[in-house]
Symmetry: C4
Subunit: 278 residues, 4 copies
């Protein structure tokens, strides 16, 4: 009995290195095949919704989707078995996505058409960053994420103002334009306001009365200033993080303590103290 | 007589703390219920304009709206009574909004349909910032406001140029395209120009003649540069205020207390006091 | 004879002060009336093109336009007479605009409908900056202009690339989509490309074939990066000019020559040297 | 025999200077004529696709196109003959473009309509930068290119996220809106999502159901923040390169010649040489 357990233990360890790690050749290969399967799966679901394609190859598509789903199910089970603390994986961000990625296909047995939801598998493509593990790329993505997180507070305050403005402007437009112009209700008018302020401008609903067009003009000119605000926030944040990153690399001078040295500096620019070779 | 007055005085003080303050438990609860009522009221007015919903639940909606309006009226009266200088509240930003928020409902007794204007209550949602009183959020909103105020001058100059440009371009397009293409009058052509320069582009009015499309192309390429200007202004302002905030963090002078020193400063720029070496 | 000449000379000097200057009460009044007339004139021409309005008040509008045109003509003649070197005015930016502003109305005697061009008078509204003469506003507008001029080189290089890209992408779309989708010729396809890349997106011409939509998607994702470039250029320029403006105010330290002092600094932050009081 | 070879050699050297160089008068003239021909050729192909123009002048256009193509063919052969290492030219960026620019016309003998592809000649207009050789312009274009290259990593990471988001949002919209609203398949829904997130907003496909409009609203508000990201990245990069350029202007070290010193530096950061006091 113990013999079998050890054998199983060895398999578990090996599988763990292949599935979770990306340093071994087998691990890298596994990751690449996985990414390929995810991509294939996403493309299959997409093609399945295209009229002409669906009619011709429906059966092949369904078979392929099932094969991939079974592969993913095996992978999911293996991920749970091989890791020491299964909870850590199951309730992690990727663990939840992995589960969601296989459920819709099994649901489609009971509910017709729910296999469309397998497209959520696209989220599994985020694994690429984990797999790449390339210092430059991961550095960039970390810096981007930090900048966005740092500007979160301002963005939230800004969006709160934006939504209140949209409610007020939308209501005014509803009163001014009325149902004839397509502003059939206040929620629809708010939708129009968001479409306009974000400069998307579908044109499915447009003001027709002169007063409505005048208000719309003011909204659009305001939109100019408004679109500048989040851009300004994020830009300032990225610029700050850029500067921080450049300063972080520097070691302060051992003699005078000056900290903002050029990364390549060999001597302190203030007291001339020579930096030790690293 | 005096006894009653004192009792009334005590009630006034207590009510004042609950209505205006947000430090006590009762005060916080009052604020939360108020926000909830405002939100509910805004949603009710919105739903009232949705065709299908209106027909089914019209009576319930009207009754609920009246209940909320009466609540707000009582709150408004209490706010006037409990504060020492009623004028300070009545003519303040929030005081005016609070009044406007209850008026349309009473107006709707005389003028049918004016209850739609109760949506202006959405502006009361701005109270959230007063209620939150969270240092981080209020700091963010203060910084945002300051940046926008600081860039006000440049934005105004920019918009003046923009409007003059729109008048001239709009007129040219009116002459070039004419009534067949939808450019029915100069104001409409100016409206088109604003829609285009702000990159909203509804598509309700579009140039049809080759010359019109050529001029529109130039306007759009110009629009590229133009949209960059307010963004640049606000970004530079936010970046500046960020830097200011960071410099403020530096150690204040031990002699005169001045706080916004250059990070590398060795001497206080105001009193010449030498900073201790760190 | 000499007596008359002197009288005329005195009138010329007085008129000059009123017309060109804005320091005297009469001068300011003249400027305000002028701005009012320009604004009125622009609004009149606009209203003249509005169908309903035109029919009712056509005669009144024409009479008013003629009155204003005669006023502007008298003003133009006075400007030429009262200034010493008439050439300086006639060939200046404002001189040319002033002439163009009165010509279309006289042309309309011979060519019906050319009075629409009087809208060019809107350009006269640029005088506001001359009239305001407010240090803050003129400072802002100077800084804006300098930033735009400084980024002119990069913007031109960028636009050259943009136009070449639009020609190539437009042609590809013409080949892919063809006449059925509205891409009737290469110039029209280029117009579509400019509309798309500038994120205006009228929607009068849209790709229908899957391949066309795929290429359009790539163009739009590229457009994301592309719209960032001019914004980045102008922002960097404004930020730089902001910094320059702040540094310009500083005087370098007389003892050690350090130049980047805080504007309020009383002592050099490097050597502690006290700045002389200004 | 040798005599002839030398004569040919002299011709080759002369031709090389004229074709590749832009310092001699003949070389400049050649460049100008070349640019003119490219521009003319691009305009000819464009006009050829315009219905009305094509019918009238088809034959003249074809003849002119053939003349220009033959000129370009001769130029291409000369470029190969006169340069020492023909491979360097043939496989360079410009060499490939030059070849692609003449091929479609010869192809049009066999395949009707392929002469439209001669528009690719527009890419030859990029030669302008080589020809201008103006230090300011080439400096600007180098700085722009460097900024874009430096922000390449972040832009790629950003776009990967963007595409995954578009797949997920597009699929959700396909499920919510369905074929009646124009969301005929997931690829089309993804196309809609890209059109919306890039704020282009054609309006050829728009959500009709309330839920679809609600999701679209969220997507557009998100789009606000998203459009800020690449702008922020490029702006920070351009600002950084601006600062780098300004620091480079500082006096180089008298001992080792290092040039990019901190403006306040008292000692060279590379060799510790003390800068003379200014």
């Amino acid at each position: 009995m113990k013999h079998i357990k050890t054998k199983y233990e060895i398999f578990r360890q090996k599988a763990f290195l292949i599935i979770y790690g990306s340093n071994t050749v087998a691990g890298r290969l596994f990751d690449l095949i996985l990414l390929g399967l995810i991509l294939l799966s996403v493309i299959l679901v997409m093609l399945d919704t295209v009229e002409g394609f669906n009619k011709k190859y429906h059966n092949i598509l369904i078979v392929l989707e099932w094969i991939i789903t079974i592969c993913f199910t095996i992978e999911y089970i293996l991920r749970i078995i091989t890791i020491k603390k299964a909870k850590n994986y199951i309730f992690s961000f990727y663990g939840i996505i992995d589960l969601i990625a296989i459920l819709p296909m099994y649901l489609s047995i009971f509910i017709v058409g729910s296999n469309v939801l397998t497209v959520i598998r696209a989220l599994r493509l985020l694994r690429l960053f984990k797999i790449l593990n390339h210092p430059q790329f991961s550095g960039q993505s970390v810096q981007l994420r930090e900048s966005i997180i740092a500007s979160r507070g301002k963005i939230l305050v800004f969006m709160y103002f934006l939504i209140i403005s949209c409610i007020v402007i939308g209501s005014v437009m509803y009163v001014v334009e009325g149902k004839e112009s397509g502003f059939t209700s206040i929620p629809v008018a708010i939708y129009w306001c968001i479409v306009t302020l974000s400069t998307v401008g579908f044109g499915d609903i447009t003001p027709i009365t002169p007063l409505g067009q005048f208000i719309a003009s003011i909204v659009m000119i305001m939109g100019y200033g408004i679109i500048a605000v989040p851009t300004g926030i994020v830009t300032a944040e990225i610029a700050k993080s850029e500067i921080k990153r450049q300063t972080k690399k520097a070691i302060p001078c051992g003699q005078c303590g000056t900290a903002d040295h050029n990364i390549q500096a060999k001597f302190c620019y203030k007291c001339g103290h020579e930096f030790p070779e690293i």
